[in-house]
Homo-oligomer: 94 residues x 2
Amino acid sequence: MEDRKFQKVAKALADPRRFGILQTIAASEAGKICSGQVCETVTVAQATVSHHLKELTEADLITPHCEGQFKFFTVNLETIDEYLGELKKRLNLK
Amino acid sequence: MEDRKFQKVAKALADPRRFGILQTIAASEAGKICSGQVCETVTVAQATVSHHLKELTEADLITPHCEGQFKFFTVNLETIDEYLGELKKRLNLK
DNA sequence: TAGATATATTGACATTTGTCTATATATCTT
DNA sequence: AAGATATATAGACAAATGTCAATATATCTA
């Protein structure tokens, strides 16, 4: 994994609220959830949620797909696995 | 793992320079390295290195032990493993 | 005991970042 | 077409953060 992506992922995971959103998406019934539903689970403004979803998307931790006026997100498991592997690799673990 | 620690570790890992320092410690010959040696591998001031080492220590990612006027650090593998496990757990992975 | 070396702390500063309100854009529904 | 709903963007702001120079503290050595 490239430095740039490695750092992007680490940063995306580092904010508590943003990680909470990621967790919410991961825990969603259908494995996907739309922006509005995320907003309901959180105490910040819609613009802030939109911002966090963008960050998570740019880190490739989630993947968006539109259905009409709704935008759904799914967790990108591969990126997470890659990140965990890369972290171990860089720290010479197991 | 408690929320507080989980966040602390994530934040500690999120800064590129700080992660680089962690990597340097992990890669050290003897498995331990003192502050001054870390300084040599990096382009920032000694005060900045000291600050990052403190952050890593507070996140329990490294453990300090003094030998005279030197302060050595070793990587705390347990914390890293715990963090990886917790991350998977929170995202419902494998 | 002095001076040298190693690390920590303080205080300042600039940048980054999370947040908001207001507004724009896009899609749906009647 | 018009209003309603969903999401994105712009701009502003405060708080957090990485950085530094200067200084303090602690330990070593001659």
